[in-house]
Symmetry: C2
Subunit: 419 residues, 2 copies
């Protein structure tokens, strides 16, 4: 579908652009972060709350929704939008990441560049997004990876299930998402170059099959994004970007292993972006599973239009809040003892329910330690507010031709923004 | 404190009355249900949401808040109201029920009339209120019950703690609650009459000590409720009611074992209420840990002014919703298969977020089965809405002199209310 994306402004100092992405259920102002509604809800929030935070789109997951409650049920209930009460755009991930995470064990850690089977933990529970794989998916078992597709055992009922390019597209059609992602093999970090190469080529063949299925059977108006793989190898990444760009997909996602450091991740993303035509490619681009503050800023500078990540919501459920503190990765861990008696709010000028109602860090710390739902909810609302403000400011900055100053101010809040 | 309670109307056909209870943090319109904020939050809800549902007061718990985060911390943070962001009245339970639940093992089941160690379960997790004891408290261990007080091991950190009449009142003073309950021994159902008698007498001695401590050290304006014990023995109940009524307490709570059937529970409550002067006693009365729909209606008819119970909130977290269906105890268990494909909302005319936004039973059932926080929250909001509407209608009915018709309509929604 041509014309799904309108670029409104470009930043002359980088590859960044601001635009509007048009979908059957409305527009997404970009650059934008997309909160996860993996299992048909942003955990703990009502749709109207997500919308009020400034988010235009949420991300549902084909793998999880296929296993429970099943796309047939959701279709009978009028589709995913109606089922979950979200009237705005929905992007669905294809299930590739989740399926291959079962096969590769700790693929999520590997994608993040951590040593296989040696992850140091951090906020890890839940089963959201590409930024890590939850224990639920890990407790399933992959049975076979073949050219036709992948079979595995369901973590819900133990039954054998199959996902394939056609099956994934059919599920996403039944869900009725506005944007479907093609079914890809998500190559982990620790495998050989030869595996990455063969895997990337299979992903390209699957891209073709996904698009063929979509053009024959897909719902009218649904956009399909191809996925660039290729691991950390420049030639493979660039080749993959060319293949995806040469396909009839409506948008382009960057997936797979992005390296073992932020520097490498930015390099890998930039290879793909340069290959995709820099700031001038007219199709929207999505960076899968990336959502730390510095990564979002750099991603925008590299020309990414949308991002999704479990981080802000998952951190919240584990007692961590986002704050303007780059030295601590913009995070404060409220479970730690030093906040037990802190009367101050999370962030002085924050409009979220936790901060604007004057809840103290001491109270939020207590709720997190006591495992109270209200704590998970308040921190989720705060973290999503933090990320929404970041993205809105980056977008405004591009439109106002002042991205470098705004990005610098977010990277170092100690330095005040020039007037 | 005289004049804390204003009776506005009495129902001529029963002991029911409607009134306004005055506290330092505002008025409570009665009869009223009091949602549990056991651990300084109504689980999953913000204070403004609880208030918007029509609730004037919440109940905090001395035992749990003493163990974590500790009343000293809460006091330093400006008291419980400020700590949890609730500006309305708060009643605090004394901790007696929780402490003795540890000692008596399954006292909660026994109080409900179920056989010791033979409870059939139902929604049981959590640690709210007097209506059952949570696994957390059970995992602690009572070390000694003496005239001076009770020592036990904390479920939070394993340290030995002591509660006594004076200590409980001091904690409730530090919390700054509007209404404090005296520290009582909560006698279980299966013990001998002689134990119940001795225990009730100790509760009376502790009542005196609580009031003495309060009059010397208690915060200005804090109301203190005595607790009527006496098990299921008419003479002991009536004697206990006389002792409590003869004390300088501001209000009267009914606690302890109320029998092994609803009929017996109503009988036990009526003994106490008759002894307390029927509809004409000028002090407010609270029924501890009771909150099923028929029990609330009957309790109002017996002259109870306020109730607290974990039921509506806990049921919600376990996938059960309250609906106008007396044949099924006003409950629908959404986890059951028959609701998996049900497109209808929980209740047609309900203004709660779950019903008014059109979420289907199928969606709520799915969320409950998937263990999603949003499901717990939606059902909590629905159930509290259901109970708030019940209590508001009973109150209006008393004021309008039509309680019998309104009560009959709630008891049997098939029979339409006469005009």
């Amino acid at each position: 579908m041509a014309g799904a994306f309108t670029i409104q402004a470009r930043d002359p100092s980088s590859l960044a652009r601001a635009g509007v992405l048009h979908t059957p259920h409305g527009d997404i102002r970009t650059p934008a972060f997309v909160p996860l509604a993996t299992k048909a809800t942003v955990k703990g929030l009502l749709p109207e709350e997500v919308s009020a935070l400034g988010y235009d789109m949420v991300l549902g997951n084909t793998f999880h929704l296929h296993l429970r409650p099943g796309e047939e049920l959701i279709e009978r209930m009028g589709g995913l939008h109606r089922f979950m009460g979200w009237s705005g755009p929905i992007i669905t991930d294809s299930g590739g990441f989740q399926v291959f995470s079962m096969g590769h064990g700790t693929v999520a850690d590997e994608i993040k560049g951590r040593a296989p089977h040696g992850s140091k933990g951090g906020a890890s529970s839940g089963s959201e997004g590409r930024s890590s794989i939850g224990s639920e998916a890990r407790s399933g078992a992959i049975l076979a990876i073949e050219e036709g597709g992948v079979s595995f055992r369901s973590y819900v009922d133990g039954r054998v299930r199959t996902l394939s390019p056609e099956r994934s597209m059919a599920i996403q059609a039944a869900l009725g998402s506005d944007i479907a992602l093609v079914f890809d093999e998500c190559t982990p970090f620790h495998v050989e170059r030869s595996y990455t190469e063969a895997s990337t080529e299979r992903t390209h063949r699957w891209l073709t099959r996904c698009l063929e299925w979509h053009f024959e059977h897909g719902p009218a108006g649904q956009l399909v994004y191809g996925i660039v793989q290729g691991g950390v190898y420049e030639d493979l990444r660039r080749a993959s970007a060319r293949v995806v760009a040469g396909s009839r997909c409506d948008g382009i996602a960057i997936g797979g292993s992005l390296g073992d450091s932020k520097a490498q991740m930015y390099e890998v993303v930039e290879w793909a972006m340069r290959e995709l035509g820099g700031a001038h490619e007219s199709r929207p681009r999505h960076l899968l599973g990336i959502g730390e503050v510095d990564d979002l800023i750099r991603g925008v500078e590299l020309g990414v239009d949308t991002f999704d990540c479990a981080m802000p919501t998952r951190l919240g459920r584990h007692g961590c809040a986002l704050v303007p503190d780059p030295a601590n990765r913009w995070r404060v861990d409220l479970v730690k003892g030093r906040w037990r008696e802190a009367p101050e709010p999370l962030q002085e000028d924050c409009p979220c329910p936790a901060c604007s109602r004057g809840f103290s860090r001491a109270y939020l710390s207590y709720l997190a330690r006591a495992g109270e739902l209200t704590g998970a909810r308040l921190l989720t609302l705060h973290n999503l507010t933090f990320i929404a403000r970041l993205m809105a400011e980056l977008r405004e900055a591009i439109l106002d031709d002042r991205l470098p100053e705004v990005a610098a101010a977010w990277r170092d809040p100690e330095k005040p923004l020039p007037p």
